[in-house]
Amino acid sequence: MYKILVVDDEPGIIKIFETFLIKNGFEVIKAAGGEEAIKVLNSDTKIDLMLLDMKMPKVPGIDVINEMVRINKRIPAIILTGSIDAERYLIDLKASGYSREDILYKPTDLFELLKLIKNKLSIAERLNFDG
């Protein structure tokens, strides 16, 4: 069973993704912000994919990405944003191996999200993405 880390500062949003992903057969680990996400990444927990909100108070999404690069733990990620701030970080994101196609804008069509998750996981499978 794939383990998905959901990172968002809004509990209401985490609840939706959690419900939806569980319903679709995924295991969900929740992080209520960047700090918690970094804690999970640094633990032994094996993560297959991360849903990462960009704009969060204190520790924003880009810091989580940078931490991943720092500890050399490359996990497939879908970057969620309510704004276009992800675009602002596109250069950093590209440097970390992500692209414009990894970004989804809120509010998100859940089936579109599911399609992207499945797509990413199959690519990771094929490439034997580190994780």
Binding site: E10, G12, I13, I16, F17, T19, F20, K23, K55, G82, S83, I84, D85, E87, R88, Y105, K106, P107, T108, D109, L110, F111
Partner: protein, 596 residues
Amino acid sequence: MKKQTNKAGQDNMDLQALKESEARFRSIVLWSPDAIIVTDAEGKIEYMNPAAEGVFDRKLESFIGKDFGLPLVDGESTEIDIFRPGKDPGAGDMHVVETEWLNKKAHLITIRDISERKRAEEALRESEERYRVQFEQTIDALFLADTQTGIILECNRAAMELIGREKSEMVGQHQRILHPSEERDGRFSKSFKQHITGETLVETKIIKKSGEIRDVAVRASTFDLKGKKVILAIFRDITERKKSEEALLRAAQEWRTTFDSITDLVSLIDREFRLVRVNKAFAHAFGMEPKEVVGKTCYELVRGTGESWFSCPHKKTVETGKPNIVEFFEPRLKIYLEVSTSPIFDDKGEVVATVHTAKDITQRKEIEKSQRLSQLGKLVADMAHEVNNPLMIISGNAQLSLMEGVRDEEVKKNLKIIFEECKRAKDIIQRLLKFSRPSRGEIKEVDINKSIEAVVSIVEHQFKLINVEIKRNYLKDPPLISIDEQQMQEVFMNLINNASEAMPGGGAITITTSLEGDFFRIDLKDTGCGMSEEVKKKLFEPFFTTKEKGTGLGLAVCYGIIKAHNGELKFESELNKGATATVLLPLREGGVERSV
């Protein structure tokens, strides 16, 4: 016999002759204008002729037998004072001769009254003295010179002070030594020659002994003196006067220059709305020179009307005596103006005129507009984020509910509506975000014609279906310019779509590219419905739209992008006569300013 006769006759003749001679002498004595007096040897007066009465102004009888009272020396001539009782003393030339009178020794005294002559001489002497004193004491420098030789004959104290030389250093010298070499003309000074030829007042320069040069005004006239033709010249030092005149002139000029270098339109307007004075910028704004404008009324010149307009700030200032300021759009000059009026009061505190300053604030207005836009952009970006999270929750929950297998069709439909409307809200927000931070591409040198053509190729097929034709009028071999092509294509797409939407029944869009000074110019002309003045004014305002489903952001986004490229976006249009959108992009490199 004959001799006897002769002798007797001779005696007769002698007697006759003597009588005649005596009568002659007597008449001479009686009629002589000089006093003739005879005294005896001791000086007692024995005879006086009638003239003596006049000279001494006394009756003859009062003198006879009296002592003459002055020493009498034979052959001596002396000048004597003559006392006349109750009158001014007179003077006489007295001559004394020793003679015989009635066989006794006597003195013959003749006295000529010279009182008048003496008085005249005295008067002349006094007059000469007076002139001398005047000549010497006058405040102006005076020079007397020979007109033939130019030799200075005399000068006064002021002349010594003016030239800084002693009289002895000037009198006897040539007059040209008074002037610096540039004021000389041959042997004489220029001014000397001018005076000789009849000019009375000339301005020239003198040189002091110290070498200092000063300005003088010289008035001169010629006259005869002791057989010579002489010139009397009065020099007045006008250096200070000239300096202050020049300073005044300079000050006036400085003011004029200052006034004229002000780029605002400045005018002085009197109570009757007449332009008393205007600067160059003011006159040039109407294609005239200041001279041509002065005297006209402001409303006639500016508005072409016969009276002032209702919110005329000048009128208000005249009425209230308080400064006034108004801002308005001037449709004929197509600029925004800020007009301020300040009152000018007379001694009684009445407003006699106002200083009227009109400033072109179009640029400031545009900056304000773009500032408003960027502030709005920031606000929109913040708002988008805040709104998107709750939207996510609404949309997500609606989607989850639908997945629960809702059986009630009504509820199912409502949930779908919630989901769809959230998508619509998301769309609007994405456009708002684009307006606040247009998507960015790379800045590179681009052939704008190709760039436009890429956009045209996307829409052309679709346009054919709605009878919109695209005509190309591209500049051959256009210079490459540095732009963000991705952004600029967004602009062209927007403008082309706007043009086609203005022609619901079909029409043509003509795309023309050209060079205009330092700019690359792109015109998009349509044959559509055009725009009213009202619409044109609000064109770039965010959320202003004339379309049923427009967001009112398209042109605001275009405007932002073009401004970031240091370019211009303009519209020319009249209602029902089509519209032309004009984009100007700087040709120079580095014209693009990037904002985050």
